[in-house]
């Protein structure tokens, strides 16, 4: 009912499901333990055309519809959320940013190989001192005789340690001092990278990139980067977090349903206990709600329109849902879930990454409501309104 797919799409999805279940899911636990991206999984995803689903034929993709994108993202996350993030951040965040911003030369040099799954791309915005507030970014582009020079550091960037190219959000020097995008070959001179260990999504490479006077050509810099344009560019990142959460949560539910049927206490399966089957119902409702919001956003975005508040609402609900549902699964499994012998605790750790990833849900709530309220989401007054109103603790 939720997915209306053509015969061809359904057939593709069946093959994709089989790949996820037979090849990708069995690698998930070891990848999490070793904090290592399974390269074979990426190769298999490339072979089945996953990376190209998100892009038009002009760059070698197939331009899949929103329903199929949603289904494949969810199933891949169900198998291994870290692998899903790694593959999809590359093709659907970095790739989409490249498609939206860049000129033909970049499309062929970078986007086409990303869309074939041959190389990994990343989108480098977050810094040590600034995340949701791009106005505070310190990574800077300086004009030089030959073009530009890029200096600064980006941290907690998905895929950075394994990427061949980065789209970097930087401040452009000079009187207008706005934001700009730089397309950076990560093999360039002056670049150093390091991994950062994360609590979840450990199969996904994650780390910092430092730029020391990295030389860029004129053509590698796009100067017109407004806040609004940047927000729109990262919509695909939020869709990734949405379906990563849906996939992980559905996995948690599937495991919980099986457990409720098999595990016995007081003479019968625990599914007979009201709290147990009641909790399964809440989990199913929470997941269905997230999936439907995500499908709506995916449909809009696959048709090349901006999903605006639809994708923000989907991300807000889905990301937090993922944490709730995987927590509920931990309760379902009790002590078993707390043990590293089961997959349940990994699902919860993976789910945690979707809440702060990209734009955190706290920030998204302000971005959703401020326009309707006629207030700016970029201005926050100092906290000085209590004493002025006569309110005090004592």
């Amino acid at each position: 009912m939720d997915l209306v797919l053509s015969d061809e799409e359904r057939s593709y999805l069946e093959r994709f499901d089989a790949l996820c279940a037979q090849r990708i899911a069995p690698r998930a636990r070891a990848a999490d333990r070793a904090e290592a991206l399974p390269r074979e999984s990426l190769a298999e995803l490339a072979e089945i055309g996953y990376f190209g689903l998100f892009h038009p034929p002009e760059v070698g993709g197939v331009g899949a519809r929103g329903a199929l994108l949603a289904a494949t993202m969810e199933r891949l996350a169900h198998a291994c959320a870290g692998t899903m993030w790694a593959a999809t951040i590359s093709t659907a965040l970095a790739g989409k940013v490249l498609w939206n911003l860049c000129r033909e030369a970049h499309r062929q040099r970078w986007l086409a190989p990303i869309a074939r799954g041959e190389i990994i791309g990343c989108f480098a915005a977050t810094e040590h001192g600034a995340g949701s507030d791009p106005g505070s970014y310190r990574t800077t582009l300086r004009r030089t005789a030959k073009g530009f020079s890029l200096s600064g550091e980006k941290v907690r960037i998905a895929c950075a340690p394994a990427a061949a190219v980065a789209v970097v959000v930087a401040r452009s020097e000079g009187p207008s001092g706005g934001l700009a995008y730089a397309i950076v070959d990560l093999a360039s001179h002056g670049i150093s990278r390091a991994s950062i260990e994360s609590v979840g999504l450990r199969a996904m490479p994650w780390g910092r990139i430092r730029f020391d006077d990295v030389a860029l050509d004129e053509g590698d810099v796009i100067l017109e980067a407004t806040m609004e344009r940047t927000l729109k560019s990262v919509e695909w990142g939020q869709l990734i977090q949405t379906f990563a959460a849906v996939g992980v949560a559905q996995r948690a539910l599937d495991e919980s349903v099986a457990h409720a049927r098999e595990r016995e206490a007081f003479g019968r399966p625990i599914g007979h206990l009201e709290i147990v089957h009641g909790r399964l119902a809440d989990m199913a409702l929470d997941i269905a709600s997230a999936r439907l919001l995500g499908l709506r956003a995916a449909e809009i975005m696959a048709a090349h329109r901006s999903a605006g508040e639809h994708i923000m609402m989907a991300k807000i609900h889905a990301a937090e849902m993922g944490v709730r549902v995987t927590d509920a699964a931990l309760r379902m499994f009790a002590g078993i879930g707390f043990s590293a012998e089961s997959d349940i605790e990994r699902l919860h750790r993976d789910a945690l990454g979707n809440v702060p990833g990209g734009l955190p849900t706290d920030r998204l709530r302000d971005l959703v409501m401020c326009p309707a309220l006629g207030v700016s989401p970029w201005e926050y007054p100092p906290f000085d309104w209590l004493s002025a109103s006569g309110l005090s603790l004592g």
Binding site: A284, L293, M313, C370
Partner: protein
């Protein structure tokens, strides 16, 4: 599934909103304050094609599907925020009229549907969990038992009653019972905390005698009638609540722009924006779930019951939170008895009594996931 509505569908919703704004909205505060049922208003809803929307055109209905009917509910909810009227309409149309249309004999349909569609007679259902028992005595059915809090009870002419038979533990028989039947008694309207524009009363059967022509469908096969009514009511009243919550959200946004708290408009409070954002998301989820349920009914999808139950659970669990959120935005004004925000809280408090229990829905859905219950 395309998420967009067709032109016809959007128009249906807009039309119902206009009808609600004209006929229902102006009198909601007084009807709520006086706990008054307005028969003329209900008849107007019948004339406007709302009550009979899903019933066959041949019997005075609109021949509409579940999605269009749900959209009528949504529009009406948006235009009136009258949840008592919502529950009255839901019981009358979805729990009583729709099962008659689907499972009734031609005689039952011809006799009852036109009057139900017009709102000339009001239908009520003695809800499923009641302890009413039916015994066979010769060629008559004898019903005994009672049911509390029957929606529309005090003003209904027609009762749809689900009874158990002693010799058969499972499988209920559904009867269509006229109010004038001897030994049928309806209690005075109960004083309720909310949904006060609808009337609730106890139904007592002290050995009423019915013929076979009172049976809806086949004896012991009444569950189909009950399930059909439930899924229609769940999908449509979820949409009705969606409309009401959207209206409440819009009012709260307007309020936040101007109401001054701690020296600045509430719009500048991040806490208030968080509350509003959650209301917004809750509405959007309600939309997706209600439309999915309605479309599933229209497509005779095997999961229609499940989708309808999910839509209802989201509302039953979420509407009280939405009402609480709106109240926090409106502040003192919203606590005044006549304010829609105050009424919304009281109406939400009635959901589990008048419509759906959260825990029952959880057990139903959980059982469906596990294949037990």
């Amino acid at each position: 599934m395309s998420f967009d509505l067709s032109e016809t569908e959007s128009s249906a919703r807009a039309g119902a909103r206009a009808i609600a704004a004209t006929h229902a909205a102006p009198s909601v505060p007084i009807r709520d304050a006086e706990a008054r049922w307005d028969a003329a208003l209900f008849s107007a809803m019948g004339r406007e094609g709302l009550l009979g929307a899903p019933l066959p055109e041949a019997h005075g209905g609109g021949g509409r599907g579940a999605l269009t009917t749900a959209l009528l509910h949504e529009g009406f909810g948006h235009g009136s925020e009258d949840m008592g009227l919502a529950i009255a309409w839901g019981a009358h149309t979805h729990r009583v009229s729709v099962p008659i249309a689907a499972l009734g004999t031609e005689a039952q349909r011809a006799r009852l549907l036109p009057a139900l569609a017009r709102g000339d007679i009001v239908g009520a259902i003695a809800h499923d969990a009641s302890g009413i028992v039916a015994r066979r005595e010769g060629d008559a059915w004898v019903l005994e038992g009672a049911c509390e809090g029957v929606v529309n009870g005090p003003i209904a002419s027609l009762f749809l009653i689900a009874a158990r038979t002693p010799q058969s533990p499972s499988g209920r028989t559904v009867f269509l019972v006229d109010r004038a039947t001897p030994h049928l008694h309806v209690g005075a309207p109960a004083r309720m905390i909310g949904m006060r524009t609808a009337l609730f009363g106890a139904l007592t059967l002290s050995g009423i005698r019915l013929g076979d022509d009172s049976v809806l469908g086949a004896p012991l096969a009444g569950d189909a009638a009950l399930a059909l009514g439930r899924r229609w009511q769940r999908a449509c009243l979820s949409a009705h609540w969606l409309g009401a919550m959207e209206s409440a959200f819009e009012r709260a946004v307007s309020c936040a722009k101007t109401r001054v708290d701690l020296g600045r408009p509430l719009a500048r409070s991040q806490a208030a924006r968080t509350t509003l954002a959650d209301m917004r998301v809750r509405c959007e989820i309600a939309r997706r779930l209600a439309y999915r349920a309605a479309r599933a009914i229209d497509a005779a999808d095997i999961d229609a019951d499940k989708h309808a139950a999910m839509a209802a659970l989201h509302i039953a669990a979420g509407a009280p939170l939405a009402a609480r959120g709106a109240a926090s935005i409106h502040g003192p004004d919203g606590a005044s008895s006549d304010h829609p925000a105050a009424r919304a809280q009281r109406d939400a408090a009635m959901i589990e009594v008048a419509w759906e229990s959260v825990d029952h829905l959880r057990s139903m859905l959980g059982g469906a996931l596990l294949g037990i219950g």
